[in-house]
Symmetry: C2
Subunit: 979 residues, 2 copies
């Protein structure tokens, strides 16, 4: 009999024994005689109800008043299509009561408490102690986890450290005083700690991000050191939980760093997720590392709890899904790794965490086959779930450890939701066993159904994925690019007119705002004569370019996109040095530039098809677009590649010829863009690169009668000036100039009482401070509803305070300089006003050298303050307090701008209200308000924020064209060909 | 045996006899051993080839040079998909020759001559005489028709009269000298004329149009009188041909009038078409009339030759198709009318015109059954067709008359094309007999296949049909409406602000430009205070109106459309009196207004649906539109209902509130529009009616900071002024004003050497002179290629000169006053310049009273003349000569305007070139350049002709809105509901 046949046989035997021990017992959550079981049952049967339930449970603990609970309950459930009959009866019965607004909240909160108690050990250390004690009397070991909010600041990370220390310092000694229980307190090699704590690395460093690989490892392991020391002192084992895939590699590195830092600590452990194909290699790597360093550690083998998250977040970024899509593959991988883990038992303390009888019995079988005693391994299960399974394993004489979180309900919610997801997942073992009542036939070797359909490959436009800096090769590519670009700084860049490169005597110096002494480049400046030449050249080239087919024009864009992909890291590196973007912001800018090229190319192919309105015999109508003529593109420095790429490519692909005048602050980036178009063979004269001062070159070009349109992105003042200049039509001008302008914003985010503050603080922080607030979409006002104002303000202030400031070529600096001295001075003035007029919750200085201004948060400002009303374009955030959502909306709308806005809320009604009434071009719900993606969130505002239709949207290109109608009478001598 | 059984039996016997006489003979056109038969065969088998062939034959005689023939031949046939193999061989053989450019034209012209000779008796009267003589020797009688160009002027009609007189005065005496042939020269009642002439009423009066019912009858019958007199003198019979259905009723009336005018003329005849269901009633009517007046006349019963035309033109106008769609129904109707005609033989001289053996034998059978001698009836067939059938009928002893046209090839082309259509029509008897080789089984009683599929009812937007003034009830409805409106002239009209009617002391007097002493109405004038109030009211109403659903807003438009339909004639009558439109122009304006309401309503429902860009898990994106705010609509007087309806309804339906300032010259019309919206319940404040002087009220409103957009149609000067005012943004203004403007045009039509001059002259005339040229789309330059310049100029000049001028409430005046004294003076100045600078081919004065300026045509003007360059907005047309199409295009494009343009050409390449290179918003091919239809020819220009996307097109409404994006992150605690 082969190994596998033998193990299969053994596993089946074990399973039979387990089933016999389980008998008819049903886990609490599947007991349909009880309400919890009923609700789980409904959620299993109805996806819509499941979603509502999860969302309602998520927000419920946050709600502070009965009326809020009652209102939200109605919002979530009053329009349910199909309420289960049993629930309907209960609701009907209830609805006869007149005090519903009191009764319903009471019932709901009681239900929530009961649900929480099912999974969470209690709020305090004392609660936890009594839970652990109760476990012990049931013969159960425990791993304690402290649930936590998302750690957004150093303070919050510190708080976490303290709570873990408290747990260990209180429970460690307590555990030592417990009576000895051999099965729990020792394995085959001797005594083991009586208590295990599980922790997540993200709780210990708010700036943890693999983009800053070394810094993340260093800071996190440094912050975790006291816990490891305490664990060692108190005889507690520590298991590092595994979270999202994005953090997997860095988590493993942190784990390794911790082991090296704590050479004498014997009981470290790590979790490995078998839904990741990569885990097999990770284990091999860890095992080799352990052998090399002569260390032994625990492995908790799990299936993985972030499946929903991974399948949502990765495709959203355009990244591959890192998890098995098929549950059976995960199960099979679990068995394969079970064998591998047990094969390495010399360096591993194995723990198998599962509720799946097959997975458990398979582990027992492999261990038995390997001649291991029962106490050489342990099984781990989540407290509150799968009780019959847990008891059966215990009865079989194995050590079972319950995984149990302790802490408050709000921070525990993520854990709770994961459990509800798990229990209501249609393929889960528990659901199939105890809801579908499938018996031992579930227990078989995992079968791969190869017919499983992969999601179809998408066609058409797809956003260019941002770079995954959790991958080492991407980080080193960026380091290499930075080095290369830095070596080549200080070059001279010419104008490009027709096919000539013109080096002028007068030049603009572009410098690194983080190191003003570093010259990025010396860029030629066009005078009036050269500007006129550029117009003539564009006019001349227009004749042929207009007649180039839309497909052919689009092909230039696609080739430019391909070229940008090749130069991706170098372009990003240049942005980092020229305008002070962070790695991720710079990378995102290139991805967006590629998006514009790919999107507008496809859009032009779509719009290039004439339509045939009406279907009447004897009449052939055509409706199609033609270019406007010669366009002037004036682009800003803050998205130094993406924005000009969008503006230039839109103007070009629609058949116009273009004079491109980039901002002087990013004109080296601008030159590279022009050069890319040259590289891909754009005919001479179709695109001229004409940098120069706005007051001279810009003004001249805007008023030139042969310029047919101006596409501008920049400040409101300049935008309005262009509009008024363009509004004057010269006597001999052929047409009225069209102006397409994206200007400023004074964008607000509203945070209501139902908001998830973890998300809200992070969202506001990113919106306000990414790229130092120098985005037209940036949040500069956050309007918080009274009841959550204080909490929010504190967390936000701490979070802002935790940002690392410095030159952004170092990936550990998430916050860089502002773009130049003038900007810095302007922002500084606002800060001074803020300090005078309001209350500076945070006023953080930046480094001395470079144009650094740290993050600032102001509260209690009068509504007429310039900080509340004017666009600052820097890292200055205004916090406003509103009594209600309505008043928050009023404040939010009280602006001349209408660009972006946001709301953090979990009230469906509030969300609808904000969508309807918040006058902004781009509204974001429960996410940051920056980072609009081409094709998905067409971007642009109205009022003083812009003129025209949204960039990256279906109407954008139309603006660069006029429409034409042709109607042919096909009737000749009474005869018309049929249609 | 019943009548029908007996007749069926008899008919079958006759048919058998005919078939036996026919033997194996094949008509020339179906003789596939000869090239004519081959070509007909290919055309039958290949619809594409058929269309190319017909079009090429149509243009061929017009071409003056070999190179033109060769070029056109290539254009039509070089890209044929499937050339018949036999032709391919011929072509291949030919293509080896090096002198193709000479050989091909020679072959083609020879072929055309041969084809023409097949059908046409010759060019001159002498030719005709010899043909008739030849016929007589073959025992054939004849009906002679003089082919003609479309008659576009009194001169051309006069020319026609002369040619008919010449024919009769030459051929009449000649015929009398012929030897007697009893079968041909007498019927059962005695001698009959030896010659018949056929004629079309349209050839005798260029202004023939049923809208001017009495005038058309009077003038046409007056013009025909000399012919009837000559016929009587020369012993010639006259048959009035039947043309398009639209002219049927008036033709019958003209026929009756002629009979009354010529009481002693014994041989009038008329054609009746059995493809018209109405013909049965027409015959009954005619028969009763004849009995009452004791007259006898000939009836030529035909199937009908305008089937293709009727099935194209009527649906294009939204009118019902007046002909049977199924050929079998036409055949059955023919038999039914055969019986009826023969039943009335006491007052009818019956002639059965058909090539269908069944139809012919059925007529023989009915006659025989009725005991009529063979010579009591006659059969008529077209010369050159169905020779075996004709001979068989002759052999059976019946009188056969050949219908034969005489004249030039170009004017004969319409006749020739009808014959080719007939011979290649898949259901034609001849084609089925001689191409499909179906035998006597074709001869059966016509069967109606009830399963014949009717064209599906159209869904969605359909243009409102214009009124068919050939119908008596429509003419009297218009007369009634004019009377009613005229009785109620001179009222006072208030402003409408919010829901208040405000009568001001100062008023604008609106007068009838045709009778300046006639006061149409006294309209209140808003001052600044009232204008401000209107803005406030609109701003207030905006809040609720914005939130009204798109469907609900659209419903107001649909109700307004219904209301307009009810008031249709009264509104048109008002336009006639207030601004001097003709009946048809006024009627078309109301139809267009209804179109805007129906189209924009549907468009808003379409655009009101949010779209969901991108499909990514965990992300819900919405993209939708919202109104801009308060809009100012400034409308012109020249389309006094349609244009303001379009502008107002577009602004309203998109959710904006509107201040509507109509032109002072059409403010009574404007008031009615506002009143209609009030009637259908538009909430107060959503639409304000605020007439007033542009320099004061208009200026104030345009610069008001609370006005978000201006929608303007009018002159370029005012448009540019509005753009420049709107371009200045006030310090406290919320947004940049959007301006949507339709301004002027200096529109050109190009006529190339391949143009069909009948169509070109008519198209240019209508484009230039409809509504006295007071349309922004009107043609004011016609650029004619050298080789056709003289012909074209002469015909155009004569055609323009034939227009009847006078007050347009009289439907016989196709040309009315210009709108006011100022306009008249301005136009007069251009005329004076024209006389100085160029050559006035026509300078026709108008009546003294009223603001009349007759049509003017100028040639030989220098290109820099103001007449060539400036918009005149009156009945002044400039004729330009161009050596080539390329230079014509250059001239056409040499304008600051780019609104409409046209080309008359039958060269596919030239048409493509003009489409590609003629810079106009609306280009029309082979039709007039005015009268764009909503939804079919979206309307608007660029350069100095307008700002924005086309009215009545898919992008128009978008201009009144901005777009919004909402992006919701639906991921909560790692869970997102599936999409």
């Amino acid at each position: 009999m082969s190994f596998s046949e033998h193990v299969e046989q053994l596993a089946l035997e074990k399973a039979k024994i387990m089933y016999s021990f389980m008998g008819d017992e049903v886990p609490t959550l599947f007991n349909r005689k009880k309400w919890k079981g009923k609700i789980i049952g409904w959620a299993i049967q109805d996806q819509d109800f499941r979603a509502r339930l999860l969302r309602f449970v998520d927000v419920l603990p946050t709600l502070k008043t009965d009326s809020a609970v009652y209102k939200l309950f109605q919002e979530y459930f009053s329009d349910v299509d199909a309420i289960p009959p049993e629930l309907r009866i209960a609701v009907d019965r209830l609805s006869r009561r007149t005090d519903l607004d009191r009764v319903v909240p009471t019932i709901l909160k009681r239900a929530l408490d009961s649900l929480a108690a099912q999974f969470i050990a209690g709020r305090t250390v004392a609660d936890a102690l009594s839970t652990l004690h109760a476990f012990r009397t049931q013969g159960l070991a425990a791993s304690l986890d402290i649930v936590g909010e998302e750690v957004l600041s150093d303070d919050e990370a510190g708080h976490y450290v303290n709570r873990y220390l408290e747990v260990m310092n209180v429970l460690g000694p307590a555990a030592r005083s417990w009576q000895d229980m051999p099965l729990l307190d020792a394995d085959d090699r001797g005594p083991i700690p009586r208590l295990d704590v599980s922790l997540k690395v993200t709780s210990f460093y708010s700036q943890l991000d693999p983009v800053d690989w070394d810094g993340s490892i260093l800071s996190t392991s440094k912050n975790l050191a006291p816990i490891f020391r305490a664990a060692q002192e108190q005889g507690v084992s520590v298991t590092i939980d595994m979270e999202q895939y994005y953090l997997k590699d860095v988590t493993i590195e942190i784990f390794k760093a911790l082991l090296l830092d704590h050479p004498d600590f014997e009981y470290p452990g790590i979790v490995l997720q078998t839904y990741l194909p990569e885990t097999a290699a990770d284990f091999t790597h860890l095992a080799e590392w352990a052998r090399k360093h002569d260390r032994r550690f625990g492995v908790r083998l799990v299936k993985g709890a972030y499946w929903d998250y991974e399948t949502v977040v990765n495709p959203r970024k355009g990244w591959p899904i890192p998890v098995f899509l098929e549950k059976e593959k995960t199960d099979l991988h679990y068995e394969q790794l079970t064998k591998v883990v047990l094969d390495n038992i010399d360096i591993i303390r194995p723990a198998f965490a599962s509720h799946n009888v097959r997975s458990l019995s398979y582990a027992m079988a492999v261990a038995e086959d390997a001649g291991l005693p029962k106490n050489a391994l342990e099984f781990q299960m989540i407290y509150g779930m799968a009780e019959p399974v847990r008891k059966a394993v215990q009865k079989m004489g194995y050590r079972v450890r319950a995984y149990i979180p302790t802490g408050e309900l709000i921070p525990g919610m993520a854990f709770l939701i994961r459990r509800l997801l798990e229990n209501t997942f249609s393929e889960s073992f528990l659901k199939r066993s105890f809801f579908d009542n499938t018996g031992i036939e579930l227990v078989h070797s995992p079968q791969l159904d190869e017919s499983f359909v992969q999601p179809p490959a998408s066609v058409g436009f797809m956003n260019e994925p941002v770079t995954d800096f959790s991958r080492a090769q991407n980080r080193s590519a960026m380091y290499d690019a930075l080095a290369t670009v830095e070596e080549n700084l200080g070059n001279n860049y010419p104008l490009i007119i027709q096919d000539r490169e013109i080096f002028t005597d007068e030049t603009t110096l572009s410098i690194n705002p983080a190191r003003p002494e570093q010259l990025v480049g010396r860029v030629s400046r066009a005078n009036r004569d050269q500007a006129r030449e550029a117009v003539d050249s564009a006019r001349e080239a227009f004749v042929a370019w207009k007649k180039t087919s839309p497909q052919e024009r689009a092909d230039y864009l696609f080739r430019a996109a391909a070229e940008m992909r090749k130069r991706r890291f170098k372009l990003a590196a240049l942005e980092i040095l020229e305008v002070g973007k962070t790695w991720k912001d710079a990378d995102g800018d290139i991805a967006e530039a590629i998006d514009y090229l790919e999107y507008y190319g496809r859009e032009m192919i779509r719009l290039g098809q004439a339509t045939m309105p009406g279907a009447y015999p004897g009449e052939e109508n055509l409706y199609f677009y033609e270019p406007l003529g010669v366009g002037l593109v004036i682009s800003p420095w803050n998205f130094p590649i993406a924005i000009p790429t969008g503006m230039v490519s839109a103007a070009l692909v629609t058949g116009n010829t273009v004079i491109f005048k980039p901002s002087g602050l990013s004109s080296v980036c601008g030159w590279h863009l022009a050069e890319i178009f040259k590289t891909v063979g754009l005919p001479p004269g179709v695109l001229q690169f004409v940098p120069g001062p706005g007051s001279e070159t810009g003004e001249y070009l805007v008023s030139h009668p042969e310029v047919d349109f101006v596409s501008f992105t920049g400040s409101r003042e300049v935008g309005l000036h262009i509009v008024s200049v363009a509004g004057k039509t010269e006597p001999h001008q052929k047409g009225v100039k069209r102006v397409i302008a994206e200007t400023g914003g004074k964008n607000a985010i509203i945070v209501d009482e139902t908001a998830d503050l973890d998300e809200a603080v992070r969202g506001v922080l990113d919106s306000a401070l990414e790229y130092q607030g120098q985005k037209c979409s940036a949040c500069s006002r956050v309007i918080v509803v009274d009841s959550v104002y204080e909490d929010f303000a504190l967390r936000l202030q701490r979070s802002m305070n935790s940002l690392r400031i410095g030159p952004t070529d170092k990936p550990w600096n998430f916050f860089g300089p502002v773009v130049d001295q003038i900007s810095a001075q302007k922002i500084q003035k606002y800060i001074e006003t803020g300090i005078k007029e309001g209350n500076a919750l945070l006023a953080k200085p930046g480094p001395e050298n470079g144009f650094f201004i740290g993050p600032h948060l102001f509260a209690d400002l009068p509504l007429h303050s310039s900080l509340v009303r004017e666009e600052i374009f820097g890292p200055v955030l205004v916090l406003l307090r509103a009594p209600t959502l309505e008043s928050a909306l009023c404040m939010a709308n009280d602006s001349r701008y209408a660009l972006t806005g946001g709301v953090f809320s979990r009230s469906p009604q509030n969300i609808q209200k904000v969508i309807a009434d918040f006058d902004v071009g781009n509204l974001y719900v429960n996410r940051k308000i920056t980072g609009a993606l081409v094709g998905r969130q067409p971007f642009g505002g109205f009022r003083m924020s812009g003129i025209g239709y949204k960039a990256g949207g279906p109407n954008y290109l139309i603006q660069f064209m006029h429409d034409r109608s042709v109607s042919e009478n096909t009737l000749r001598k009474g005869f018309a060909p049929s249609l």
